[in-house]
């Protein structure tokens, strides 16, 4: 809804700005409004980020202070390390296993809840409840359910799956928890999107005799696509940075099957004390995320309907 209105609004403003000269403004005023945010950004994001670039070109001593300049050697070491490529592969797998299932499930839930039944509010709350659970308690809950011998999941499935200790399942298990954690947020966004589709539009096609599938194809899907895009975008960025549940559930294992980049960065910096390696990895992650975001915005123009 926002994005769709946005475009209209910006089109309108462009037309206007051509027609009328801009209102006179004090030249400093807009910058003043940006000051509070930028003080924080500069101190706690940009400065440390530049520091990261700096450290990535040095070695560090046992106390974590920069020592000798090595240029790009840390990056060269990274790109010669099979473990690093493994981390990148796992990160992409992880992102795909989270972003799309969680949006899809949330969309189905939003369609389910988009009715005028009694008790609708109760379902809405139930569907979005995981949003209220922090990662530490959530992993505590799920690790009980994943327990190999007496966990409820294996009991129901009648299996003895080693969810957290078999490399083939660990990433799936971590993904399930992450998807569960993000369903609530996605559900609310998509529900709001569906609610904002004008009822007259739906009624008019209903009178024309459109069935549910047709309504879905020609009304819901196109009109919700801007909202869907925002949700996919937030989920992709979020899953690149998922950390708490991985640390608490698998610590990157078994083997290195859940060692996503963010975990690897944490491990290098905090467990092994090699800040320079962590900084180099972080910069690679930054570049990857930047590329993925640019691709997403390219893609947006092709699939998202703004009319």
């Amino acid at each position: 809804m926002y994005a769709q209105e946005t475009l209209k609004a910006s089109k309108a403003s462009k037309v206007k700005s051509l027609a009328k000269p801009k209102i006179k403004l004090s030249p400093v005023e807009p910058y003043l409004y940006l000051v509070p945010s930028f003080i924080i950004f500069i101190t706690f994001v940009f400065y440390p980020f530049i520091n990261t670039i700096y450290v990535s070109m040095y070695t560090t001593d046992l106390r974590g202070r920069v020592k000798d300049f090595v240029g790009l050697q840390n990056f060269i070491d990274l790109f010669n390390s099979p473990a690093f490529y493994n981390s990148i592969t796992i990160t992409f797998k992880f992102v795909l296993m989270i972003a799309f299932p969680s949006v899809l499930i949330a969309f189905i839930l939003a369609l389910l809840a988009n009715n005028k039944l009694k008790g609708n509010r109760i379902y809405e709350t139930m569907f979005s409840l995981p949003m209220a659970i922090a990662s530490a308690p959530a992993t505590a809950f799920w690790s009980m359910a994943f327990n190999q011998t007496n966990g409820i999941i294996n009991y129901v499935l009648g299996q003895e799956i080693q969810w957290l200790t078999n490399p083939d399942y660990a990433l799936i298990a971590v993904s399930i928890v992450t998807v569960w954690l993000s369903i609530g947020f996605n559900f609310i966004f998509l529900t709001v999107g569906l609610r904002n589709i004008p009822t007259e539009l739906i009624e008019s096609v209903s009178i024309d005799g459109a069935n549910y599938l047709q309504k879905f194809r020609y009304i819901y899907l196109p009109l919700i696509s801007p909202q869907m895009f925002v949700v996919v975008f937030i989920n992709v960025i979020g899953s690149f940075q998922a950390f708490g549940q991985i640390k608490l559930l698998t610590e990157g294992g078994p083997g290195d099957s859940t060692n996503v980049l963010v975990y690897s960065i944490y491990q290098e910096a905090f467990k092994y004390g090699r800040f320079e390696v962590a900084c180099a990895q972080a910069l690679v992650l930054f570049v990857i995320m930047l590329c993925v975001t640019l691709l997403q915005f390219k893609f947006e123009k092709k699939v998202v309907h703004y009319d």
């Binding site: 409004y33 106390r63 011998t149 080693q162 200790t165 490399p167 078994p254 905090f270 004390g273």
Partner: protein, 439 residues
């Protein structure tokens, strides 16, 4: 514009009020006590954390010159990270509890004082020799052992009886464990399980009397490379571990130690290995479900002659550039290993008493009579064939690498030889990097 300014001003005032409040509170606190204030960082949570608080309170009440404030800093790794970062701003602790495998790093970093230099006239002879030995590096005592544990074998006596095995003679080697496991497996139950844990690998090497690294296992000088590839230790342990799991009588629960203990307590596996510090937990979990037995930590082969080395943590006096603080820190450390303190500590947690005088206290004698399982662990600790164990600056990573490679062997991603090669390379590269940053 005025409103914006006033809003910002309001924000700033509120902020400064917040900061103002907290700093004035600090001032009053330090103003009332003229004596030495010490900060003690530890990594003990749960009941052990409660026991630490109790001991610190006792210490503070026992005299008026020194006030210790105990602060839990998360797991050892987290505490170590915080130490590294806060030392740059000189805001770290005065006393620090650190795990055994952080010993080399702490020495090399220069953050801590050498304990022996502070211990003028202190008699180390009451400290259990087999424990103290671990903290002697390059001929000096660097830190005071505090919470010490060793690995032991836990077994289900009731299951042994049902399988026709003698419940009073537990297996002593992995070979034997496999034989026993065959008899104990069936009905969805398994004979044995062992947490994927690098510490156990180090202990198996001790049992085989093989070194982990060069330079006298890292004790004469900083290690330069691993030796477990050339002395065949890694291959033997990997292969034995793999064979056991492939037999079908031994089950793998990965790196989750609690899952292994729970499975043991619910009777799904008849034997497991674990730290002595888990003994109270195991006893509580098992309850009346079956009769619990404790045995010595198994060797790999039946004819291995070596013993075990200790694990756990020790107390370090940190270098804060103040002799007064350093002496006060040593007073506190001394108190923590007094017989009476160790009695409280060991009964609350299951860790050993590092002070041998504790065993002469009537409460301890009664306790051991009532809890004979603890005696097995103590006997094992006091055996004469025990090893000091390796000292290495990159132990955290070496353990992670062992665990990762073992798991890849178990899931058939790597052969045993490939895993040995990868483990060797990873740890050697880490050692090289470490030595480069240490010098």
């Amino acid at each position: 514009m005025k409103k914006l300014a006033s809003l910002l001003l309001l924000g700033i005032t509120t902020l400064s009020m917040l900061t103002g409040c907290s700093s004035s509170a600090d001032q009053t606190a330090s103003a009332t006590s003229t004596a030495v204030d010490l900060v003690f960082w530890h990594s003990m949570s749960g009941t052990a954390g409660t026991a630490i608080d109790e001991l610190v309170e006792q210490f503070n009440n026992s005299q008026d010159e020194i006030t210790v404030k105990a602060e839990y800093q998360g797991a050892y790794d987290d505490a170590l990270t915080k130490l590294k970062s806060s030392a740059l701003g000189n805001s770290g602790p005065d006393i620090m509890q650190l795990y055994d495998i952080g010993t080399r790093w702490m020495i090399d970093s220069g953050y801590a004082l050498v304990l022996q230099d502070l211990a003028d006239g202190y008699d180390f002879s009451s400290i259990e020799e087999n424990i103290l030995e671990y903290y002697i590096v390059e001929g000096q005592v660097h830190s005071m052992p505090f919470n010490t544990s060793t690995p032991v074998l836990y077994y289900n006596k009731t299951a042994f009886e049902q399988a026709g095995l003698d419940p009073e003679s537990p297996p002593t080697s992995l070979e034997e464990i496999l034989e026993y496991s065959e008899l104990l497996t069936g009905d969805g139950k398994y004979g044995f399980s062992m947490q994927v844990y690098g510490w156990f690998f180090e202990q198996f090497l001790n049992k085989m009397q093989l070194d982990y690294v060069d330079q006298g296992n890292g004790r004469d000088d900083s290690a330069t490379q691993v030796v477990f590839d050339n002395n065949d230790g890694a291959r033997v342990v990997f292969q034995t571990w793999k064979d056991m799991i492939d037999s079908g009588y031994v089950v793998n629960y990965g790196q989750d130690g609690t899952a292994v203990i729970e499975s043991f307590a619910s009777g799904n596996i008849a034997m497991t290995v674990g730290t002595t510090a888990s003994l109270p937990t195991v006893i509580a979990y098992v309850g009346d479900a079956f009769e619990l037995g404790v045995g010595y930590y198994p060797s790999v082969n039946a004819d291995d002659k070596g013993g075990i080395s200790i694990g756990g943590g020790s107390l370090w006096a940190m270098d804060k550039g103040s002799d007064v603080k350093a002496d006060a820190a040593f007073e506190f450390i001394k108190f923590m290993v007094e017989p009476q303190s160790q009695l409280i500590w060991s009964q609350a947690t299951g860790y050993f008493c590092v002070n041998t005088e504790t065993y002469k206290l009537p409460e301890m004698i009664d306790f051991l009579e009532a809890n004979p399982l603890f005696a097995v662990a103590i006997n094992q600790l006091q055996e004469s064939n025990n090893e000091a164990g390796a000292v290495l600056g990159v132990f955290t990573e070496a353990r992670d690498a062992f665990e990762e490679n073992l798991e890849k062997i178990i899931s058939n991603e790597l052969s045993v030889d490939e895993a040995v090669e990868r483990l060797t390379t990873t740890v050697n590269v880490a050692i090289k990097r470490y030595n480069a940053s240490a010098n």
